[in-house]
Structures are given as C-alpha cells and as structure tokens.
Amino acid sequence: MNADKTDSNKNTPMIKMTNVKKSFGTKHVLCGVNLEVQKGESLVVIGGSGTGKSVLLKNILGMMEPDEGTIEVDGEVTTHIKGRARVELMHKFGMLFQSAALFDSLPVWENVAFGLIHGEKMPKAQAREIAIEKIRAVGLSAMVGDLFPAELSGGMQKRVGLARAIATSPEIIFFDEPTTGLDPIMADVINDLICQSVKELGATALSITHDMASARKIADKVAMIYEGKIIWCGKVDELDNSGNPYVDQFIHGRADGPITKHSDFVQKKSA
C-alpha cells in the first residue's frame, strides 16, 4: 500500500497543464496547451518570438490567470489560487529572468539572499553566508557580493540571477531565455551552470528559449510551441528526426518552410 503511494507520487508530474487557454482581447495566445514535466526532468519549450512562451510561464507562476484549463503543480491544482496560498506555493519555484531582473537598489549579495531573508525569514548574517556561497558557485568572486547590479556586465548579471534563482534550493526552476543577449562563449558558460545547478539540486527545470544550442545542452525533453499549442514534444535526441516540418524548419533556422509560409498567408490576408 505504502509502496503504491510512493509509486504514484513518483509518477505525478511536477507540472501539468491541461488544455490551458489564454487570450488578450481578440488575440488568442494560448489555444489549449497540454504539457507535462516530470520530477527531476529538464524540459525546454522552443518556439518563435510571440508564440506565447512567456505567457506560458506566467500562467504557471500565477502572474496571469488562464481563461480555461487547469494547471497542477506537484499534483495540486493551482490554476486559481491567490493570496497567501500563492505566496506559499512560490517557495517551490525559482526563476532566472531574461533580463536577470536584479533589484538595482540592493547590492548583489542582498539580491541573491532576497528570497532567504524575506521569503524564508532567515537571519541576515546566515543568508549572507549562503548568498556568498551561491555567488561562488556561479563562478564569481565573493567580492562581487558588495557591488551593485548596475556595475556588472550582462553575463555577470545572468550569473547573479542564476545564483538568486537557486539560493532557496527550489524544487522547480524556470529559465526564461537564459542565453539571450550573451556572446556564444558566455552563453555556453551559463548553459553549463544551469545543467550543473539543476543536477545538484535535483530540481525540475522548465526553460523557454529560441537558442537551439542552449536547448540541446540543457534539455532532457523538448517541446515546441506554435500558434498557442504544443505541436511536438519528445526527447532531445529525437529532435533531429521529429518528422515534424515545423520543428525541422525551426531547429535549422530556415527562412522557407511551413512557419513562414503560414505567416505570409496571414499577412496577405490582413492586407
């Protein structure tokens, strides 16, 4: 009986979206998204700009509420929860933002320790120690802790953002276009750090990106979103043999293919 229970717990996906729809006025951004991320798995959602990748993340985090469908986190339906219950739920999450989104009024160490001090009510001195340790873990020297975010380069800001995302040892980490705006070498460094930190925490990772090199490196599984739906989902090594013309066009970055053909059609129609 007990073994059964653990078994079913194991099989409960960490994140499950069922038929999630979200529109803004007449613009349908998510048109019935079905997605599952298993515990300890790293899923990367790929897709062009404006296909609803960010809206997908914001719906899971509760910053937007879906019009239809359900979202489950660790077996618990979280679609419409708000207030204190939402704040409690957020303890499970960590997120690295596209722009790093560091608090520019606080020094770096306080940025990293923010979730520990304010979210988990840890004493400041102890939180600082953990913050410095995390700053070191992302390859920066402890001295960086006393600088302000505006004094850091883009790559360093991303590292600090990553340190902040992993500081509270969350069960689920979101990466929103982690390599956008970085040079290829720094992008690879960040990819490595992501792989390493996710592995060390044993966390579940959900990333969105349009950088295929990054997707191949950090993903166990890849899902492609197109016109508000997940049109393909599979293991990362199946990506090249997906048999899906949309996926093929996207991963090879071709200007000609079903995606652009379709958008040409939309343009002509609206003209």
Binding site: K58, L61, G62, M63, V87, E88, M90, H91, F93, G94, M95, F97, Q98, S99, A101, L102, F103, D104, F114, G115, H118, G119, E120, R164, T168, F174
Partner: protein, 262 residues
C-alpha cells in the same frame, strides 16, 4: 449624415465616460488592496523607514522654500491691497490663516506630487518593465507589501509633518516681510498672529496634508505598477501620476474645506 455625426459624437463621449469609470474603479480596488495590506503582516520596517527619509526628510527643502516665499509674497500682496482700505492690521491674520488652512497643505501637496509622486511612478514603472516586480513574486514576496505599503504609509504620515514645518516657515516668511520691509512692529504682528490662530486651523491643514500624502503616493504607485512597456510606458506613467495627483489634490481640497468649515 448629421445623425451619423451625432451618434459618433455621443459614442466618443460614452467611450470616454466608460473609460473614466473603469479607471476610477481600478484605482479604488488598488487603494483598498493597498490599505488592507497595511494591517496584515509581514511588515517591512526598514524599507518603510527608508521611505520616511526619502519622502519626508528629502522633501523638506522644497516644501520649506515654497512655504517661505509664499508667506513672504502673501504679506507683500495683502499689504498693497489692504492699505487702500486702511486695513494693514489684518495682514497678520491673512498670512496665518491662509498658510495654515490652505496654502501650506495644497502647495506642499503639489510640490511633493512633483517630487515624490513622479519618482515613485518612475521607479516602480521601471521595476515593472524590467521584470523586477515579477521577480519579487517568484521570491515569495508580495509586491504590495514590499513596494506599495511602505510608500503609502510614509507619504500619509510624513506630509502632515512637512506641512507643520511649512506652516512655521510660511508664517515666519510673512513676519520677516512685514517687520523688516513693511515696518510693522514686532509685538503687534506677533500678538495678532497668536490671537487669530486657532488649533482647528492647523489641525484641518494637517488632516488635509495626510489626505494629500495618501493621494500622491497612491497615484505614484498605481501608475508605476500598471506602467506600459518601455521608456514610453514609464514616461506616461510618470506624467499620469503627477497630473492625476495634482488634480485630485485640488478636488479633494475643496471637498475637505467644505466638510471642515461649512
């Protein structure tokens, strides 16, 4: 054709009215949410204290200068007016009542709207645009408690303090001009000021100041929190915060005066 024109005209009026009602509703809900969070833990004492400094202490020079020169001009202007009726003795009463009841709270409110309201809207707007507010949420911190409540509390409590200091400086400005430029006697000017002033005059001004402080910080927070994207969005949020706060100060000043003195 004329009928179509009339319908179009009515439609645009209706549309604007609908938009106005919607905006008032949104601001009201935002205000209620902010006020309810004031009384619910967790409290961010250190951040609130910092806002007391930013909103209160650093507005002191602006409010002080405004009060000083308003008091001085008031004495000068009422002198030129009142000498025509041989009523120079009323200058002290005019200065002290105008400053405490109206000018100190309203002008301080408007100055703080320009200084603090704009800064709040720009700061929170930039935080919205650069996803810092979303980051707060993912770090299990309610942005209302961390960003909005400290500013509104500091604004509501600090503006009365600023106005009290402004009252003193403004009356002193009137005194300086009357005694040194207009050759009034020190004793009679001060005596008249003291005799005419009642605590209700000062208290009504301070209550107004609290209301204006609430309005200024609320408008700054609301417009910043709902800022549009990019530099243009933040710019518009800042403008809207200052303009709406200034207009609301003038409207609510009339309403409060009606309540206090009618």
């Amino acid at each position: 054709m004329p009928i179509a024109f009339i319908f179009n005209f009515l439609e645009s009026i209706g549309h604007s009215l609908y938009g106005l009602c919607a905006a008032i509703g949104r601001i009201f809900i935002f205000a209620m949410k902010a006020v309810s969070h004031i009384f619910m833990p967790p409290f961010f004492a250190r951040i609130t204290l910092k806002q007391f400094m930013d909103i209160g202490f650093y507005s002191l020079p602006v409010v002080g200068m405004t009060a000083l020169f308003t008091g001085m001009v008031l004495a000068l202007q009422s002198y030129t007016g009142f000498t025509r009726f041989n009523a120079e003795n009323a200058i002290a009463s005019v200065v002290v009542l105008s400053i405490t009841r109206e000018l100190a709270p309203v002008l301080a409110g408007l100055m703080v709207a320009g200084r603090v309201g704009a800064a709040i809207a720009a700061e929170i707007g930039t935080m919205r645009v650069t996803e810092q507010i979303d980051a707060l949420v993912t770090l299990s911190v309610n942005p209302f408690k961390y960003l909005i409540v400290p500013r509104i509390v500091a604004g509501t409590l600090m503006l009365p303090v600023l106005v009290l200091i402004g009252d003193i400086i403004g009356i002193m400005g009137g005194y300086l001009v009357s005694v040194h430029a207009l050759d009034f006697s020190v004793g009679s000017y001060l005596k008249q000021t003291y005799e005419v002033l009642e605590s209700a005059d000062v208290i009504s001004g301070l209550v107004k100041a609290a209301a204006f402080g609430f309005i200024v910080t609320l408008m700054g927070c609301y417009h910043g929190f709902n800022s549009g994207r990019g530099a243009q969005g933040v710019g518009a949020a800042t403008t809207n915060a200052v303009v709406s706060a200034s207009i609301l100060i003038l409207i609510s000043n009339y309403i409060l005066t009606q309540v206090f003195f009618s």
